[in-house]
């Protein structure tokens, strides 16, 4: 096995270096495999597997596509890679057990949730220095940021709240109680809605960012699936705000929601224990990480259809697609 992956790795590096980037690279963090699987967004073929440190979970990329950030949870730091070569460039201090993070729309700074310390750590991606540590609720996990970069959202899993943080003063200015175990926070691009998923509660709260009031709670009902298995985690919204995708964990479905009415329109069958998702820049495809079936499902966004599943590494966790 080891020889095989080394061989793949070597040939993949050659490939990556030798050919110009025609398609987008898709990066999938494999929590148990301690590596990142890179896919080609056009051919949907695996380009290679690259070691990235211990227990990689949250993964994101800079707006210019030049830096790939990976939460190496068991290394207690964020590792930064060259997305083309997958060589490590440097690391960022993250505080202990970083799980999920969000990048400021400008590419700097990076806001990291530290589950063990009830903190959100703010790190300058240029100077690699820690800018602030913000105390939040018990078990911070989900991180979101408003499109204008002014408000950072953190969800705390045991306190069951979305904390609204002023990104300039680092002060919490509002706390919104949502359902049990909030995992993820996602604004629409217009900044008019904030979606917060509650894994154990089984709902997605639609919050008005201006008033911080919950305007709607989206619930899910799938024939033949027991309610306990419906566990919303990752949320992604198309740029026009019209479609919202919610990964439903062990229900093995992604819900498609009308972003105007916030009504569920469809459920797409994907792999097992689907948690995180990422669009291609043209929003043709949405990739989902299926932790228990070791694959990603590829959803055709316009058609609401799963077109392919691609085996990746062991326990895929997060996914991001290069912007260029």
């Amino acid at each position: 096995m080891k020889h095989l992956s080394t061989a793949i790795l070597t040939s993949a590096i050659c490939l990556g270096l030798g050919s110009p980037a025609l398609a987008n690279r898709v990066f999938v963090s494999n929590e148990k495999g301690n590596d990142v699987t890179v896919l080609d967004s056009t051919t949907l073929e695996v380009i290679g597997h690259y070691p990235v440190g211990a227990r990689p979970r949250g993964i994101t990329i800079s707006p210019d596509g030049k830096e790939l950030y990976v939460c190496a949870s068991d290394d207690d730091l964020v590792r930064v890679f060259n997305p083309e070569t997958m060589e490590e460039m440097h690391t960022l201090p993250s505080g202990p057990d970083p799980e999920l993070f969000v990048l400021h729309p400008s590419g700097n700074p990076l806001y990291i949730a530290n589950e063990d310390d009830n903190l959100v750590t703010v790190v300058d991606t240029k100077t690699h220095k820690m800018l602030a540590e913000i105390p939040v609720g018990v078990e911070p996990e989900g991180m979101g940021i408003s499109p204008d970069g002014k408000v950072v959202i953190n969800t705390s899993e045991t306190t069951n709240m979305a904390h609204f943080i002023n990104s300039e003063t680092y002060e919490i200015f509002a706390n919104v109680l949502v359902d049990s175990r909030p995992r993820f926070a996602q604004y629409n691009d217009a900044g008019t809605k904030l979606y917060v998923s509650a894994e154990i509660g089984g709902t997605v709260s639609v919050i008005n960012p201006e008033t911080q009031a919950i305007e709607k709670k989206i619930t899910f009902d799938i024939p033949g699936v027991l309610p306990e298995a419906i566990q919303p985690v990752g949320v992604r919204v198309t740029k026009d705000g019209k479609k919202v995708f919610v990964a439903l964990g062990p229900a093995n479905r992604v819900a498609v929601i009308n972003g105007e009415t916030d009504e569920v329109e469809d459920y797409l069958l994907v792999g097992q224990r689907v948690w995180q998702m990422g669009f291609t820049p043209d929003e043709k495809y949405l990739f989902t990480t299926n932790g228990n079936s070791n694959d990603v499902s590829v959803i055709d966004v316009a058609e609401n259809k799963v077109v392919k599943s691609v085996p990746v590494g062991q326990q895929p966790w997060g996914v991001v697609v290069a912007p260029n």
């Binding site: 996990e141 045991t158 154990i200």
Partner: protein, 398 residues
Amino acid sequence: MKGRIIILLAGLSATAPANAQQPAAQKTVQTVQAAVLRVDMPELPPISRLDTPPGDLGFAGARLAIEDNDTTGRFMGQDFDATEITATPETASAELDKLLAEGVSFVVTLANEEQTLKLADQAGDKALIFNARARGDRLRGADCRFNMIHTAPSHAMLADGLAQFLMWKKWTNWFLIAGSHPEDIALADAYRRAATKFGAKIVEERTYEDTGGGRRSDSGHVQVQQQMPVFTQRAKEHDVVVAADEAGIFAPWLPYQTWDPRPVTGSAGLVPHSWHPALEAWGATQFQNRFEKLATRRMWDEDYQTWLALRMIGEAATRTQSTDAPMLKEFMLSDKFEVAGFKGQKLTMRDWDHQLRQPILLTTGDVTASVSPQDQYLHQTSALDTLGIDRPETQCKF
């Protein structure tokens, strides 16, 4: 607890401007008072010194729950407190009287079945009892009480959890070895019921008599190595040994000492638990870390079950935005209630016997080997109801 909360609130009002979603700083803080009453029985030391109960058993779980509740509470204008009381069977009743006189409406008990039932009857409608230790099925059946909630899983739930896994392994022929104490016999009944329910066959049954005396002695293993093979020899062909040793007299000596080379399960080997300190799924790692930081030891079932009881109260207070005891009680017993417990799904209340539904962890010494319900067992309302006594078979009448 109080001092800490005041500091937190002061910090909060300094950093947070007034907001509709931020009522805590302005509102007066309302307190929910609970108590944890542990009734310690005179007991012999356990077979293994690793199993010696810590002095703060259960209480450490309570402290973590209060911290967790208070973190949310500081945003809600709510404060939580739990008085910790250690009693003997002789003093338990007087201690409960004191709590009732103080107006405490929520009492978590860590006691055996007999004591738990007595305390529930004594509390009547003055307090809600959370049973965080006793696992007997009678407490959820013929002896159930409306004012008693069970966060400890029942024998039937634990036995069913193990049985589902054994059936999945196709280990369908069981050699059941039960102790001679009443609680062992009750546990063996739960395994017999589980065998019938899931289609296993108990091909051989033996009773391990407790003849008294200490459970360990210097070089005790020398005799055990002679006794256990002899005790287990010439059993009918079986796939697995199931030990029912609630009293803790013999089961830890079974693995590797049986006449036939068969895995041991039940009270030793593969053991069903409500909690295990090695569980890492579903955010449990952070929960374990927080507990270990606070208690400087690993979490036991009793800590988890106490934590769960107090978290139920906290969750009810958060959701109802109230500290009114009757309102919290009504909400906890309603079908709207759910609580997260680091077991991968919401935990809810069975309205027919007030047992909290929960997954059962199947553990070896070092790891959580599996979690039941197994995927193959389906149910029309909740997969968790494949574990334990379901609505149609309950003997509980409130």
